[in-house]
Amino acid sequence: MKEIILLKLGEIVLKGLNRKNFEDTLLRCLRRRLAVIGAFQVRAAQSTIYVEPLNDAIDMDETADCVSKIFGIAAYARACVAEKDLEQMKIAAADYLADTLDGVQTFKVEAKRSDKKFAYTSPEISAAMGEYLLEKFPHLTVNVHEPDVIVTVEVRDFGAYIRAGLERGAGGIPVGTGGKACVLISGGIDSPVAAYMMAKRGLELMAVHFASPPYTSERAEQKVVELLQRVAAYSGRLKMYTVPFTKIQEQIREKCKEEYFTIIMRRFMMEIAQQLAAAKGAQALITGESLGQVASQTIGAIACTDAVCRMPVFRPLLGMDKEEIIEISRRIDTFDISIQPYEDCCTVFTPRHPRTRPELAKVLAEESHLDSAVLIEEAVQNTVVRDIQKE
């Protein structure tokens, strides 16, 4: 019996003339990500994408997990393929769904017939299938209002597909359809979530991380690698740029007033990130800021930070509570890594009383004590790049 995965497209179907582009990008993305698992035929027809394994050794659990994390897919289902013959469909359903049906008490059958040449109508298919399954699984009863499981039979052009239920997909739009952006990632809970959310809106990612040895350790950096590996399960592979940041932090601490430390540091981060981003073809920055969460995330602080930015800064978490952010981080499996307690560049030299309403003029005056251009150039030049893909 042949098992395949059916993917239902998300909001791509609403795109007018661009729809073909979106669909092609999604298909390319699917083919690339599935190639790691094995050989598949991936094709689109009738608003559905068919993912068909080309040999029996392919792990369909892994395949389902992989497609569940690809943006642009609203829902997916594992299904078995049967010939368009009612008897064969019944036998295939009983065989394929045995495990599922053994684990429930009630069910109903829904039939969809898009191939109108098929000899039976949808109600006829449902009735025949329901009767057969009741006979094969005597413990079952039919419940049309609140069934434990819905058995769906779709009779389409290429064959009949039988499945139980439909899983929610990752949603969003395909990665790469929206251009490329650069996420500033520290190792906390927020930035991986921000990266995930923007990838969901079709952006390809690159990541910049600031390391301050010996104030931060190799563990902090390893933590970021692991976080990005989790993000990569959704966004696809990406490059991580690790910027040596010790000297800049030491200089700010030495030459600027303590209360401005964080704001100046963040301006440096933005400047370095946008230089790297521009060099690698990214058109925007992404940060995990949530308004009012800490002193550097107030309107005033964001205004001072953004004053250095020449590209748009996307802050998808701006209006979210910590609890909401944590919920997403748990869902994308980054939470447990994020809470490992290592010092990161943002917690080094934190001022006792940071400015919550900094004025740009004063920030600039403080910053003028530094040889910014030289410091930045040195940091950019010594940046180390590594390739990140999902584990």
């Binding site: 659990d61 684990g103 429930v104 307690p341």
Partner: protein, 378 residues
């Protein structure tokens, strides 16, 4: 004189790769994995590698693996941890009459604490009947604990069917599998089979003693047995047994393809059965569809211990039943309904990848000799 070691279900010889790794982790990378410095980091990296390898064999995520001190601790953590976590949902626990002592003894403690424990009987093959399980599970059932493979007979339990029964009964039960004898020898699919907790051990697969692991499905809450530091998500605090854990990882890394080894064991097992069945007083207790690594038999008329010691003089090492039962009458064979004279004379052979056909020949010859020279116990 050559040693014939046929007691691999009790424990196995440590493979050279694992032993080497333990030495390296004791003498070179000896840092505490929780230490922040480089030595600690390296040590943690190695522990993580081992965790990943075990996770890979089970097709699960590495965060779902907790290292323990072995099968007994894994089983105790799972059974007590699940019972405590779910005690407000119900008090009923289902297990089988043939579990390892580390599950059965834990169940007895829970019974004293007010839990109702159902011990499912087994058939003559040593297997649980699914109808009985299905009848036993109800909405008050909070835990089903069943071994994958019996340690005395090799009987394979129908673990892949249990989750469906739990779901059908709309029970909140967690499903624990003691997979100590099965791990590394047959495919285990905790995700596919809806297993929440799964115990494995290192020293049954040519790793060192004193280390094992427990798979805890993501999102499954169990109450820990130990309290202390932040290690292993606080489910199993305490500095990780780095040399043992990493040696276990190596043992897992060098595991041969399990299907190939299974076939090799089937050949050995069939050969042993064929030779033994030619002997008049030998009865084989392991059913033909048992795991081929284990062969339980009786040379009727001779007590297990007498035979065991006699064979040991010839440097042949077998066991009476489970090593953990230390010579007590086998509860497993009793549950299978075997007559007393079979139980008293039961011998367990257990094979490994290092067992050869010659080993079996030698064992059979010496068993025959023993039966001719020893005084029958009657």
């Amino acid at each position: 004189m050559k040693e014939i070691y046929l007691d691999n279900s009790a424990t196995t010889v440590v493979c050279p790769e694992a032993a080497q790794k333990a030495i390296q982790m004791m003498t070179e990378i000896y840092g505490n994995p929780s230490s922040l410095h480089t030595m600690g980091f390296l040590s943690q990296t190695e522990v993580d590698k081992s965790r990943e390898r075990i996770a890979a064999v089970l097709s699960v995520n590495k965060e779902e693996i907790i290292f323990t001190s072995g099968g007994t601790e894994s089983n105790n953590t799972a059974v007590f941890g699940a019972a405590k976590a779910l005690c407000r949902r119900g008090k009923k626990i289902i297990t089988t009459a043939v579990e390892h002592s580390s599950v059965l003894a834990a169940m007895q403690v829970l019974e004293k604490q007010g839990f109702e424990v159902v011990y499912l009987p087994v058939n003559e093959q040593g297997c649980v009947r699914l109808e009985e399980l299905s009848q036993a599970i109800d909405s008050q059932t909070i835990l089903v604990s069943m071994m994958a493979v019996n340690n005395e007979t090799g009987a394979i339990q129908p673990i892949e069917a249990v989750r469906k029964m739990i779901d059908r009964a709309k029970s909140p039960a967690l499903f624990h599998v003691d997979a100590v004898q099965a791990f590394g020898k047959m495919p285990l699919k905790p995700k596919k089979w809806g297993i929440d907790l799964l115990s494995v051990s290192s020293h049954k697969i040519h790793g060192p003693k004193g280390v094992g692991a427990l798979y805890i499905k993501k999102g499954t809450h169990i109450v820990p047995l130990h309290y202390g530091g932040e290690q292993q998500r606080r489910i199993r605090p305490g500095t990780e047994a780095v040399p043992l854990i990493c040696a276990m990882g190596e043992a897992v890394r060098v595991l041969p393809d399990c299907q190939q080894e299974w076939e090799q064991m089937q050949t050995l097992n069939a050969y042993a059965r064929q030779r033994l069945s030619a002997m008049a007083n030998v009865v084989i207790h392991s059913s033909a569809d048992s795991m081929p690594y284990i062969l339980n038999l009786s040379a009727v008329g001779f007590r297990s211990e007498t035979l065991l010691h006699h064979l040991a003089q010839k440097h042949i090492y077998v066991s009476g039943g489970s090593a953990c039962a230390k010579g007590q009458k086998s509860h497993v064979l009793t549950a299978m309904g075997l007559p007393k004279e079979y139980i008293d004379s039961a011998i367990r052979l257990s094979f490994s990848r290092y067992t050869t056909r010659e080993d079996i020949d030698y064992f059979c010859e010496e068993l025959e000799n023993a039966c001719q020279t020893l005084a029958s116990s009657r």
